[in-house]
Symmetry: C2
Subunit: 182 residues, 2 copies
Amino acid sequence: MTAKTLSPTLPETPFDSSEPAGSQAAVLEFEEGLGALFGDLAELFGNPRSYGLIYGTLFASREPLSMEAIAERLGVGIGSVSMGLRRLEEFGAIERERGTGRGTALFFAKLEMRLLVGGFLRERVLPRIAATGTQVEALTSLVPSLPPEERKVSKQRLERLSRWHSRAKSILPFIEKLLGGG
Amino acid sequence: MTAKTLSPTLPETPFDSSEPAGSQAAVLEFEEGLGALFGDLAELFGNPRSYGLIYGTLFASREPLSMEAIAERLGVGIGSVSMGLRRLEEFGAIERERGTGRGTALFFAKLEMRLLVGGFLRERVLPRIAATGTQVEALTSLVPSLPPEERKVSKQRLERLSRWHSRAKSILPFIEKLLGGG
DNA sequence: AATGTGCTTCATTTTGAATTGAAATCATTG
DNA sequence: CAATGATTTCAATTCAAAATGAAGCACATT
């Protein structure tokens, strides 16, 4: 549960005694808390927790961070961070400083929640809703081969489902917009 | 993947040869398809797939079904069905025929999607959103113990998060209502 | 071309949530 | 109130999805 405490291999501020005692611990706690918060949010939308952890770490940080720094702070494998950063960048929720050019790439969070949440929605929710449409169609085409006494009731129920689906589909952009206010 | 075909212990229509050949197969396919559809929907909202499978089976059926019949048709354990039925009943998405009274209880689906989706939302989504509020508060109370140069930026970011959270919370009932049109 | 550094890939491992079903519980009936 | 049968519970198991990290790749530098 506790963050792996300040690693001995960490290069920065080898001994900066000007900081008040508890401050550094508070920074770690703050980072960890935001990681957890966004991790939960990612899970809520059915995306891998690590995406949220990574975004949260960047959201907490005043300066951009390298892939390695993120992996170290979170204690997660570099593979996960690599994947996560790519996806988050695709979402438009983070950005990389200095283009593919020289040296280590640094990442920072774009702070608009709309970008993150929109990405989560597009990644998991929208494809599922689309798939539902296909499923309803497939079932509808099955109705004529049902026994006669089943047909009417089955048709009615599918129509109900279909109406719900249309409605859900039509309000989704609306939801996305509303959730993107931050 | 294929449903375990008509069990030999099934009491009804022991040998009703008046049915066209393919009809029975179509009924199974129809049931299975609705199970899958609602199973996916349950997963989408982060609820156990089995809840959706059960609801789908009832949604497909013209007459109410017993726990055992459902378990048999779906090929899932009776424990899952027992749990699922209880939850769905709590959601108000299904109902039991003949109160706790005599013999085997029979269940049928209430067809309003609002009930099912509302249950899914209440079960998983609302608690998470509420938890986010607590997390934001905890982090806010941490700000004063951060190093001075971090405080301002951290406070700003938390405020942004907090605004998003308030908005999300306030539109949830609205979403629930919209999704409950069927 | 050779070396080095940072990044990605993906076969394996881990993890946690869902499922299972045997035993306990509860309800009904003779 | 014993017996029967339906239902629930929960410890053990299964399984799918996520995480891991070594090996390979790409690109920069000498």
